[in-house]
């Protein structure tokens, strides 16, 4: 069980949205994490974009450290440490977001408010497949 947190989740979501708006205001770019990471991997199509992308990723990596320093609170973090599960999950997510041109941030956070049909369909698709996968793992195989 995890605790239902409507207020902190709404507030945290608004911060995520604000970060996406600032990236559009200053850089004119969509805050899609898979696109940003993909742009850092060689071969580089556009080297001018490399600097801010690396800086953005460093910001993401450091955010939990800052949070803990500022608030003094620990961050709940429960992850499977199963080698096979995490390697297959990583490969499938990487392949999927690459082929599908985006993930929860690019399609969900940035695409839905633009009323992009591709992003709306993509978000419905990955959420449905995520729900089906967890159902099979927890209630069919594990049940």
């Amino acid at each position: 069980m995890t605790e239902f947190t409507p207020f902190s989740s709404l507030f945290g979501g608004a911060l995520i949205g604000l970060a996406a708006v600032l990236l559009m205001l200053f850089h004119g770019r969509i805050a899609g994490i898979s696109g940003i990471i993909s742009g850092i991997l060689p071969p580089w199509v556009n080297k001018d974009e490399l600097g801010w992308r690396i800086a953005f990723v460093i910001g993401l990596v450091l955010a939990p450290v800052f949070y803990q320093t500022l608030t003094g609170q620990s961050i709940k973090h429960v992850v499977s440490n199963d080698l096979g599960i995490m390697i297959s999950a990583g490969l499938i997510v990487g392949l999927g977001v690459g082929l599908g041109s985006g993930c929860t941030s690019g399609h969900g956070v940035c695409g839905i408010p633009r009323l992009s049909m591709r992003s709306i369909i993509a978000t419905i698709t990955f959420m449905s497949f995520g729900i089906m996968t967890v159902y099979i793992i927890r209630h069919v195989i594990g049940g």
Binding site: L15, I16, I37, P64, V109, R114, I121, M127, F129, G130
Partner: protein
């Protein structure tokens, strides 16, 4: 230089939002996806908060002719629903359901000390890289 500084600040704020919202915890994400079990609807509120802010914010920002540090806005223009989009989104959903990580929270997890992220993150990069080989430029 300013592009780098503001890129870093956007990333920090984005990551802060992921932590505050609880989405940096894969267990919370998996419970959102577990609609018929230990359902935790928090992720809907995260999406809702983000979508409202981006909806209003993009409308305001895109009234400008250009962004502050670049010559032009880069907004996707494709409208076709092709097989790659559906296959990719479907695969992403499956991988998300297996590990509980999507790309953003996987990055914020890098210094959070779990063993799982050490397996997940390099695999994510390999998968992303492989998708480029499979996906012709368009």
């Amino acid at each position: 230089m300013m592009k780098i500084v503001f890129g870093l600040l956007s990333g920090l704020l984005f990551g802060f939002g992921l932590v505050v919202s609880g989405m940096s915890n894969p267990a919370k994400v998996l419970n959102f996806l577990d609609v018929f079990g230990t359902f935790d609807p928090s992720l809907i509120f995260v999406m809702g908060g983000a979508i409202i802010v981006v909806f209003i914010g993009y409308k305001l920002v895109l009234k400008r002719n250009t962004p502050i540090f670049n010559d032009a806005f880069q907004i996707p223009t494709r409208k076709d629903i092709d097989k790659r989009l559906l296959l990719g989104a479907g695969l992403f959903g499956i991988g998300w359901g297996i590990g509980g990580f999507c790309p953003g929270p996987a990055v914020t997890a890098l210094l959070m000390g779990s063993e799982g992220i050490l397996y997940f993150f390099p695999s994510l990069l390999i998968g992303l890289w492989a998708s480029r080989v499979l996906k012709p430029k368009n």
